[in-house]
Symmetry: D3
Subunit: 136 residues, 6 copies
């Protein structure tokens, strides 16, 4: 169930078709997941979102592609986004995430949420040593 109707033939719009073609080419797969089908209700939103995802996630950069997927999972889970937890866990597995790494990822993100609560509940003051602006 979604808040907008899924387009039945989104690729009738050449701008949508161009994005879908690029998704298929980039991922070397015919599968286009629902996120892009729903974003297709607005060609500009689709184009820009895909362009940013492609640049950040599918272009070699200072971080390893699998690390980037795990960071994406960390944020998505913390935000409670079920769709995103699904799609990025699938992507991480496709990039080689092992069960051991998956369990380790869960250990870290659940521990982080736990100590976030403690620090916020206690309103722990930031140590002066962490102040990057006033370092000599």
């Amino acid at each position: 169930m979604s808040t907008i109707a899924r387009h039945q033939s989104p690729e009738a719009d050449p701008r949508v078709k161009a994005v879908f073609d690029d998704i298929r080419a980039t991922r070397k797969s015919d599968f286009i997941n629902n996120m892009w089908h729903y974003l297709a209700f607005d060609a500009d939103l689709l184009e820009k979102t895909w362009a940013e995802v492609k640049t950040v996630m599918a272009t070699p950069s200072a971080l390893d592609p699998l690390v980037k997927e795990m960071l994406y999972i960390a944020v998505s889970v913390t935000n409670g986004c079920g769709y995103c937890a699904h799609s990025h866990t699938a992507a991480a597995k496709a990039k080689g995430m092992t069960d051991e790494q998956h369990a380790d990822l869960l250990r870290v993100i659940s521990l982080a949420a736990k100590t976030n609560q403690l620090a916020t509940a206690l309103q722990v003051p930031v140590d002066p040593a962490f102040d990057t602006d006033h370092r000599p």
Copy 2:
């Protein structure tokens, strides 16, 4: 400003002293950041929290130590925990995070938050292809 008073001589309690000693030994540093000083108001809470942090973050595991710090930052930032953003960014830098990696981390976690909003706003249905329970 905090919600409980910081202990003036926490190490007078031998259970607290034992934890602080282990923090110093594990980190090879005399610096004990505020988080532990404030948790010291309850020795049991301090002991168990440190034990879990040490096991998850300071023990070799399936994920690289720097990757774990970056995942910690991702969760902490998404939860809006200022103290945690400070302490784990400092820890990530101490473990060698470069400016390029830092910028890349910010790119990924801010993009994730952006697409989380889109997926949630559209209530995009999970693709059957992501259903791990019903795979053949």
Copy 3:
């Protein structure tokens, strides 16, 4: 699936019936969405929640009714409330939200979530110029 049982004949309780009658009259529709059916498990909670929603959302005020629905969507999406994203997107469309406005809404709330992450990750200090208390 819900955490409490939906009342089968909620209007047997005259206090519930009075609220349901007012919802129908205010909205000029016989449709009463699930939120109110479930809140009906406690007449006081139902009465006060409806009274506030009616006052804030259905009474002319300084903001346009459609703007108020879009603000409601913005908060609901950020909180990850699926039910609320559904009900308030439907309400916004009923009040005339166009596809162009919908796409623009998505652009703004997803960009906001993105820059929220950046500001929190960097712990950007508030500019003195924003301090309303110390303005001359």
Copy 4:
């Protein structure tokens, strides 16, 4: 630093004065914390917020006053509201929260945040046994 200027003489407005008088009488104290001073920029918002807080928090009900303060802390910490963590921890202490109860509160709310992450990361399906609508 705040987003609106604090009123210098809020009680010059008789509606504000009436609320402030009721806060003092209800709490049996002359101290009026900043929250109410800032809400005073709009008398209607001040009146309705105080009326609800008084009804829910300061009126005998099915839950103990200290339990209600601890629930308030749980939500405030999870939402990352520093002001609210401060004011409701102070209120809970004023209502008798001991250090042991405080530590126990922290254990529960930090564990909850931790297992929330696990359940969301795994997208654990709701057990049919929890479905209240379909119970015989």
Copy 5:
């Protein structure tokens, strides 16, 4: 739908069987809810999560067991964890939560979320009176 496959015979692993046995013994029930079935994909994660849940939630402590369940609900709802809202509401009912207490719980946690927004929107400064570190 979940992000990992549910184990078909998790108790074939003696470590998992030992945890499941302890869950059954602690709860005096044969029912093991999905959370534990899914965590069973990693025996260490299962063991440590159950050990902590058992210690915090099923061991007599400074807070009443029902109060702890309600605090758990407060955090889970604020984090938008549907599974957790279900499982802990069921647990609270099993521990005797009445409809009146349930409604009161909802009143408090929804009011808290409301005033959290007001305090954050106004960026209300913390009153010096709340500063525990600088009290004489």
Copy 6:
């Protein structure tokens, strides 16, 4: 206090200078708020963030500029981003937000957070009437 050092002479980098010049020209003001000074640690991040903010917020679109600022506030407050609450409240005031509109904004976003909690706590099922995919 921030997690990275603020650049002392960011405009020594021509890419940063170009962005700052465009911010000044777009806003017709010499004031460049801290967000941009801190993002300047990575020219690419600065350029792309500003380009998106300029396109979404400073270009005529289907929504009114003030409405867009209020939506930005709604998300920022819900995410607990103090810096963002400050900067976008200041921006909304600069675009003409009156005290009456401000109070109305607070009424809507605090009510939304309140009913989000209720819907999530009750796990209210989405009404079939809201299902856009299955409408005839």
